[in-house]
């Protein structure tokens, strides 16, 4: 366990984003292999055998997702979700800027697996540099016959276009992303029907994260069986962890799944900034429930271990909070994020996230009371568990309630104690 490179092996090459470099290290060989030797079913099975789980947040098995695509005459669409926006998460930007051809190759392989002939790479609009790099890479791939009609002369057609988001976190949710691609507000859709049946333009659609697609060429190159030997049994492979906050060496680290969190924080990231003690860790993006330092020291970086602590590995964003962190302030900032990003469709989310934010603002200013704390808990119960179309309201609750429960004293200290007045 520990550092292990699969996706980031050539991170130090200054031209890692070019076709020339990518091909010089074996790039597009996997695409050649699937187009000349494998059937769609064989590709799906290989990815299923690898045990690859989606790297966007939910961790759903990728091969199974591909397997849900019905065999109909309708066009099938393939979408890359590069709308990275969860606070703490910054891994996909690096992949987009440094390894765009790995992403394109992964998508072209996935296209054959689901019989898609049109794909879109949806990238968050703020990533201007990344968008330009991917657009250039797509052009390079077209010129080299790796995209378009009759790829490599092997009889498969696949077109790929880049689409820029316009600043809405909710478009990271797949059905909101689909609406956005269709030229609408990024409102999540009711499910079912799931995108596999009725997605983009009401056709079968697969949406995968950037990191998920980047794993695919490696799985094909080494076979699913071999890939599964990396990491843990239920969480195979490597994972990019984006570490930020109070740590000496923040950054993106590729490690084998199952690496102890302690090793990631103290050995790989150099320990806590200013040699302070560790107070807490948010293990998988801002919506993953916070872990105390004691919990963090027992955790390993895989889906099951983090789930056993009632949190999530999510987007692989690890936020480190030292004893210097003001958890009332950080919780307020997260609530502010969710209230800002609520799309406004569902009342519990639209009203709840704003209300929770306002109450936390009162508490952080030292003007809150026990009743405000109780109200946050009461509101939380109405915001979770399927009361809304998508999980944004749940995400807000998960970012707020566990912190208020586990670090109750820190919140209590900020409260204005209510004084009963006798007349």
């Amino acid at each position: 366990m520990g550092l292990k490179t699969l996706l980031t092996t050539h991170i130090n090459a200054t031209d890692s984003h070019t076709l020339k470099h990518y091909q010089s290290v074996g790039g597009y060989e996997s695409l050649k292999k699937v187009l000349s030797e494998m059937t769609a079913e064989q590709i799906v099975n290989d990815v299923k055998n690898s045990g690859l789980r989606g790297r966007g947040g939910a961790g759903f098995p990728t091969g199974n997702k591909w397997g849900f695509i019905p065999k109909t005459d309708k066009p099938k669409y393939l979408i890359c979700n590069g709308d990275e926006g969860e606070p703490g998460t910054f891994k996909d930007r690096m992949l987009i800027e440094r390894f765009p051809h790995m992403l394109i190759e992964g998508m072209a392989i996935a296209a054959k697996a689901i019989d898609s002939h049109q794909g879109y790479i949806y990238i968050r609009g703020e990533f201007h540099k990344g968008i330009r790099i991917v657009e250039t890479a797509v052009e390079e791939a077209y010129k080299a016959g790796l995209l378009g009609k009759n790829i490599l002369g092997l009889g498969y057609d696949f077109d790929l276009a880049v689409y820029s988001g316009a600043g809405a976190y909710i478009c990271g949710e797949e059905s909101a992303l689909i609406n956005s691609l269709e030229g609408r507000r990024g409102h999540p859709r009711l499910k079912p029907p799931f995108p596999a049946v009725s997605g983009l333009y009401a056709c079968p659609t697969v949406v995968n994260n950037v990191e998920t697609f980047c794993n695919v060429p490696h799985i094909i190159r080494m076979t699913g069986e071999e890939y599964k030997k990396i990491g843990t049994e239920k969480s195979p492979g490597t994972r990019l962890f984006a570490v930020s906050g109070h740590v000496k060496k923040p950054g993106i680290y590729e490690v084998e799944m199952g690496t102890p969190m302690k090793e990631l924080i103290f050995d790989i990231c150099g320990g806590i900034k200013n040699d302070k003690s560790l107070k807490a860790v948010i293990p998988g993006g801002s919506s993953s429930p916070i872990l105390t330092s004691e919990e963090a020291m027992t955790a390993t970086m895989d889906y099951e271990s983090i789930a056993s602590l009632k949190s999530m590995l999510g987007s692989g964003a690890v936020i480190i909070l030292s004893e210097e962190a003001d958890l009332v302030e950080t919780t307020y900032r997260l609530a502010e994020f969710y209230s800002h990003e609520s799309c406004g469709q569902c009342t519990p989310c639209r009203e709840g996230t704003h209300w929770v934010k306002d109450l936390l603002h009162k508490i952080k200013k030292g003007e809150g009371t026990e009743k405000d704390v109780e109200l946050i808990f009461s509101l939380s119960r109405n915001m979770e568990g399927g009361t809304t179309i998508c999980p944004l309201a749940d995400a807000c609750v998960m970012a707020v309630r566990p912190t208020m429960t586990k670090f109750k004293e820190e919140f209590s200290l900020r409260l204005k104690k209510e004084v009963s007045v006798s007349h």
Binding site: F90, R185, G245
Partner: protein, 162 residues
């Protein structure tokens, strides 16, 4: 003269058309073209987009889309749009002091534009560069690991630029 796409935007518009089976998908890219031409999205430009795309897209629909997304400026912004991330990782790295520093240097509050229309300062929610905080986006470019000294230097370079 009524607004129409600039030559460059028209070229890009023509390249976009074959990429989508539905012309409605052109709305978001078209709003970016409008913003590139005018600096912000206005009713005249949105009406033009609705007309270019045609049925069933109306001005109301384009307006509804434009107001949903934060990257479309609904009013003019300064020549340099300074957007500073204020969310958790950047906050932990000291983004508040960067915002204060920039605002006091320019003599404006968050959300305001300087009188000479050169700078607009906004606080934004997560720029997706959390390991390199504090982070600011100025027009198309990211500036990472900011300190009051480094942002001071960036501001004086912008001043020279324009």
């Amino acid at each position: 003269m009524a607004y129409q796409f600039s030559q460059e935007s028209e070229k890009r518009f023509q390249r976009l058309i074959p990429q989508f089976p539905s012309k409605r998908s052109l709305i978001l890219p078209c709003l970016f073209l409008l913003q590139a031409d005018k600096g912000f999205v206005d009713t005249e430009g949105m009406q033009y987009i609705a007309d270019r795309i045609g049925e069933p897209v109306s001005l109301a629909h384009v307006h509804g889309v434009a107001t949903f997304y934060t990257m479309y400026n609904k009013k003019p912004v300064g020549k340099f749009h300074i957007q500073i991330c204020a969310n958790i990782s950047c906050y932990l790295a000291g983004s508040d002091s960067i915002t204060e520093h920039v605002c006091s240097k320019l003599g404006i509050e968050k959300g305001e534009t300087t009188k000479d229309k050169k700078y607009t300062v906004d606080e934004v929610q997560c720029l997706g560069a959390c390991g390199f905080g504090p982070v600011a986006q100025i027009n198309d470019k990211y500036y990472e690991n900011l300190t009051p000294e480094s942002i001071e230097k960036i501001l004086s370079e912008l001043e020279k630029e324009g």
